[in-house]
Symmetry: C2
Subunit: 295 residues, 2 copies
């Protein structure tokens, strides 16, 4: 039986990404395993303890998940095998029958609390805020009628709790990108799938040989000349010296395409550090498609 | 008496940035005011409740401080008046005389705990980890001989505690950039200073009129043509639609310089959203220069 790690505990949005990924792959034999934090999961994949795992990499409101980028850049040699994008819908979750004016305390992960800040104020006033390690943990520990948790529909259903307000986040558009990681050489994308999952996006990390005015412009010319669309760019400080930066670049295309191969070859020549994180398929789910969340 | 807000509570690295900034400015009359979180401080500056404030914007290990970037982009119209870069030195702090093998619990901010992960394991084994809202809070609440906190030397001294291990972070190079913010039109950089504080860096945010292959390359050509050095670039999703990105760009130069003015004019024409966060002086402190931390 195959195993797939994910950032737990059960009921997190990462579990929803994992479940929907397996569903899209028509895979009903893989067993999901929750890991307590991103670092441990990434190290478990690198050490071969679990063959693959899913972690968040970017949220539309919070930006990059720094710990994921840092581990991929500095600590391990793993490949991105697929990208899964989910809409993030936060719900105000209570014991059955609880009314808004009974609530004296709201429990959730700090990011979820931040994303619902205005609505908490609007509906619950100056209620007490309690921060815990995950939205799933918040929902699991909900124990009294004067508490509410903010979390996923999946977690609410598993705990037989009620959704007092669905879509409780301040911005209606909120999504997270997750990546499926494995050690190099593993091909997880073989086999059946509900839709063709061709590699359509590539992620690389590089440091220019020398930082000087115009260097990024020169690097990006490789992409512009071949009409390749960048989907993300981020400079992040290297772990060593003040002022030196790594670039994280995502672009459309497969590293096996001839044009992309040529771009990568040219970039490598201009880099003191160069790493292809992978070419992979993208799965984007809309709220309607998230069958698993609502069943 | 002038007032300067900072991300508190007292004893945070942001307070150290604020104290060292005032020292560099030969300003000993301004009163420091702690704010409980970044959002409240930024809103207090925008609302005129406090004339200026200092918040973290980037850490060398953790990357950008997303909440700061998001508020500057989307919620307020504030100017960066100065940048202060400090080395971050985490210390393992205990009650006087406590030995390592007495410690059963380590308390700190999640980022500090993450940055000391390997050393916690090395020196304290599988000790209990307790997360709180700031390193200063961790040090302030240290109450028993079997607890340790991770925090600044300033916080340890204020609480008459002992440093069991100085420089407890895993990576010796660790720095944070802070920014001094105020409403537009305020000129905080007038007056005396220990060193000339000329504006030497500019930060902008922009969204290209249309996302298409080569657009970023075209934008960066403006800088390359005039030999202007970029110090940071980051694409971040806009709050509205999937796939649309804002660019945060820092570069060397003052927006009042003729060449920079021309670059900004050209970029503005190619942008659907354009904001100059400010041109400002940079203060970089080394450990040796941080007189205030050690006095």
């Amino acid at each position: 039986m195959k195993r797939l790690g994910y950032l737990g505990p059960p009921g997190t949005f990462t579990e929803m990404a994992a479940v929907n990924y397996l569903e899209a792959k028509l895979d009903n034999s893989s067993r999901l395993e929750a890991y307590i934090d991103i670092e441990r999961l990434i190290m478990a994949i690198a050490d071969g303890e679990v063959p693959a795992g899913i972690v968040p990499i970017e949220n539309s409101l919070e930006g990059s998940v720094n710990i994921t980028l840092d581990y991929l850049a500095h600590k391990v040699n793993l490949k991105i095998q697929a990208e899964i994008t989910l809409p993030i819908v936060h719900n105000l979750i209570v014991k059955p029958g609880v009314k808004l004016d009974e609530i004296e305390k709201v429990i959730s992960h700090p990011q979820a609390l931040a994303q619902c800040r205005d609505n908490i104020k609007k509906y619950l006033g100056d209620t007490e805020i309690v921060k815990v390690n995950s939205t799933a943990e918040a929902v699991n520990q909900l124990s009294s009628r004067n508490e509410a948790a903010i979390g996923s529909r999946l977690a609410a259903r598993r705990n037989n709790l009620e959704i007092s307000k669905a879509g409780f986040q301040d911005e209606s558009r909120n999504w997270t990108r997750f990546v499926l990681l494995s050690r190099p050489g593993v091909n997880l994308e073989a086999g059946r799938a509900r839709q063709a999952l061709a590699a359509s996006k590539t992620s690389i990390i590089l440091a220019p040989v020398k930082n000087r005015p115009g260097i990024l412009h020169e690097l990006l010319e490789e992409f512009a000349r071949k009409n390749i669309n960048l989907t993300k760019i981020e400079s992040r400080p290297t772990r060593k010296t003040l002022g030196d930066y790594l670039f994280f670049i995502d672009f459309e295309g497969d590293s096996q395409d001839r044009e992309i191969k040529e771009i990568l070859k040219n970039l490598r020549l201009k880099s003191s550090y160069f790493k292809v994180l992978g070419s992979y398929a993208r799965l984007e789910f809309t709220s309607e498609e998230l069958a698993v969340e609502y069943n």
